[in-house]
């Protein structure tokens, strides 16, 4: 492309018509006709404009006439060229501006597309967040409900504790009285049967009260309503009460093997530890139920032992295991594979958070259809 500043040729300065007219006008002024053309011919003189030869002038009556005509043409050319230069420059800058505008337009379009995508993504993120909030709200509501139910249970347990105490002690006294009655009452077969039956009734009742007492104790340990802060806990006791609670939950159908070794006391939050143990046992029980094919073979092993400065607790089942795909997310809050409403997706999250709060560690080993082993380590107090 020619730039605006390139020296113009005669053709560019004048159209054929204009050149003809100029030739006619010049010829009118001279004695003989003159011709301006781009090419040198015979006796022609050069016509220069701005150091550039734009053409040749031939004809004319004399050399002087030729030179005068050439000078006149040069003079005219300056104005034509001025206009041409300005016009070319204007054209060049307009084109450059237009190209620049188009570039900006393209850039604008690109950024608009980007923003649209971004806004789409943003909408999606907002939707996701709204879902999370909605679910969290649901969970919160549910956990608040569970907590208040737990508190109610603990309160009731506390209230039951006293009457069950005196019922239990009264029953024992009553059983002693039956022994006394045996000696006083006439020894007839009817009396013997009656007293024997009476004693058995009392013994069963005493068993019943002690079962109630142990459930109450478990509930109290579990909710630890009166132990808000860290204290020294007996991990084995907590484990046992969690086991009892799970058994109660599953109507004593679980086969739970306890291998609890003597442990030093651990500084911790008893209710949270209980909750953790319960959650893990409940998971294990669920895993066995899911594997349901052969109920009799499902077992949960609860193990505790000292290992250096730590207490190590293992809760292991031979249930369905955790599928590979879920394994990375098991500690995520609200991640659950259970049907809606039956699991909060918080069990392992709570377990992990609790263990971390105790400066401990939790690891999970799982193989689908083989089982899952959860290992907790808690530092012994003072270590």
């Amino acid at each position: 492309m020619r730039s605006f500043e390139d020296d113009p040729t005669l053709q560019e300065l004048l159209s054929a018509d204009q050149l003809q007219r100029l030739n006619r006008a010049l010829s009118g002024l001279c004695k003989e006709p003159v011709t301006l053309s781009e090419h040198k011919a015979g006796d022609s003189v050069p016509v220069e404009f701005n150091l550039e030869r734009v053409g040749w002038l031939s004809g004319g009556g004399s050399r002087d006439e030729q030179l005068a005509a050439a000078e006149l043409v040069s003079f005219l050319m300056m104005f034509v060229a001025k206009y041409r230069l300005a016009a070319n420059l204007h054209h060049d800058t307009t084109e450059a501006s237009y190209a620049e505008l188009q570039r900006q337009n393209e850039a604008l379009k690109a950024s608009e597309t980007r923003f649209r995508e971004l806004s789409g993504k943003l909408q999606q993120t907002v939707d996701e967040q709204v879902d999370v909030i909605r679910q969290t709200q649901q969970e919160l509501f549910e956990s608040a409900r569970l907590r208040s139910v737990g508190q109610l249970a603990a309160g009731v347990a506390h209230e039951i504790n006293n009457p069950i105490g005196f019922i239990s002690s009264n029953l024992r006294v009553a059983r002693d009285y039956v022994e006394d009655l045996k000696e006083i009452a006439p020894d007839t077969p009817a009396n013997r049967d009656l007293l024997q039956d009476f004693q058995e009734l009392l013994t069963e009742s005493i068993d019943g009260t002690s079962r109630i007492a142990s459930i109450v104790a478990d509930l109290k340990t579990f909710s630890s309503i009166d132990q808000a802060d860290y204290s020294l806990c007996n991990v084995n006791d907590l484990l046992q009460s969690a086991v009892h609670l799970v058994q109660t939950e599953y109507s004593h159908s679980l086969q739970i093997i306890e291998r609890l070794n003597e442990l030093p006391q651990v500084s911790g939050h008893p209710s949270r530890l209980s909750q953790t143990f319960f959650n893990l046992l409940d998971n294990a029980a669920q895993a066995l139920r899911d594997e349901a094919a052969d109920d009799a073979s499902g077992r949960i092993l609860v193990q505790s032992q000292v290992q250096g400065d730590t207490v190590r607790i293992v809760i292991q089942d031979n249930g369905c295991g955790i599928p590979e795909a879920s394994r990375a997310r098991i500690f995520d809050a609200f991640f659950t594979t259970r049907p809606v409403g039956s699991g909060t997706g918080l069990g392992l999250t709570v377990a992990r958070d609790t263990v971390r709060a105790h400066n401990g560690n939790v690891t999970i080993d799982s193989h689908p259809r083989t089982g899952t082993r959860v290992t907790l380590t808690l530092p012994v107090k003072g270590s």
């Binding site: 730039s3 701005n50 300056m78």
Partner: protein, 224 residues
């Protein structure tokens, strides 16, 4: 970028007078037109102006022939200084071989000088030229006006730049105009000679280049 046409043995160079509005770029060119008497000199083309302000550009072609027949042309351009004519400035600046930056010496115009210099730097980059290697002269014009910024202060301010020393001028009175131009020719020759071996191929030495293009009527008179 020098435009060399081997067929015509013609080398065209382009020098642009740049600077803030009303700093005297056109006056520089007009003075050169009337003061210079180079081997060849064309018409000064003052394109459209409004209220004495350049709208497009002004152009003065001068020339010199080498002993090889080389047709060496130098086209001197001014740009419109007003901010709104930036696209015109850019178009004129493209393919420049040298720049004379005409600054205004009045204290009130120092910000405009800086803005125009920044604009020059920016536009040079846009048209693919490097301000650090482009032959350039910085002229502080209007020295005739009372109360202008002190020369020493200006020289000191620019001392660490590649454009020191500055040339002081009063274009209106014709002072410093040819000096600025000669300084530019000197710097331009170094670059052009490197590329086109003017001296060896065309017999154009630095001396011939500068004196041939900047010969003035006054110098002629002095000789007589």
């Amino acid at each position: 970028m020098p435009d060399f046409q081997a067929d015509d043995n013609k080398l065209t160079l382009k020098v642009v007078f740049y600077g803030p509005a009303l700093s005297g770029k056109t006056t520089n060119l007009m003075q050169l037109h009337s003061l210079l008497n180079p081997e060849r000199k064309g018409e000064l083309m003052v394109l459209e102006t409004r209220d004495d302000r350049t709208l497009f550009f002004d152009m003065l072609p001068i020339g010199l022939r080498g002993n090889s027949g080389l047709d060496l042309r130098l086209k001197l351009y001014t740009v419109p200084g007003q901010v709104q004519h930036d696209s015109t400035r850019k178009a004129v600046l493209s393919r420049a071989d040298g720049v004379v930056f005409v600054a205004d010496s009045q204290p009130s115009q120092q910000d405009n000088n800086a803005t125009a210099f920044g604009n020059l730097e920016e536009n040079l980059e846009k048209v693919g030229l490097d301000i650090d290697t482009l032959p350039m002269v910085v002229q502080f014009n209007k020295r005739d006006i009372p109360g202008v910024v002190d020369e020493q202060e200006l020289q000191h301010r620019w001392a660490s730049t590649p454009w020191a020393p500055l040339v002081m001028a009063s274009a209106l009175q014709g002072r410093g105009v040819i000096e600025s131009f000669r300084t530019l020719l000197d710097r331009l020759y170094t670059v052009i000679n490197e590329e086109f071996t003017l001296e060896q191929q065309h017999g154009i030495s630095r001396h011939i280049f500068i004196d041939g293009l900047s010969a003035s009527h006054e110098a002629e008179h002095a000789k007589l």
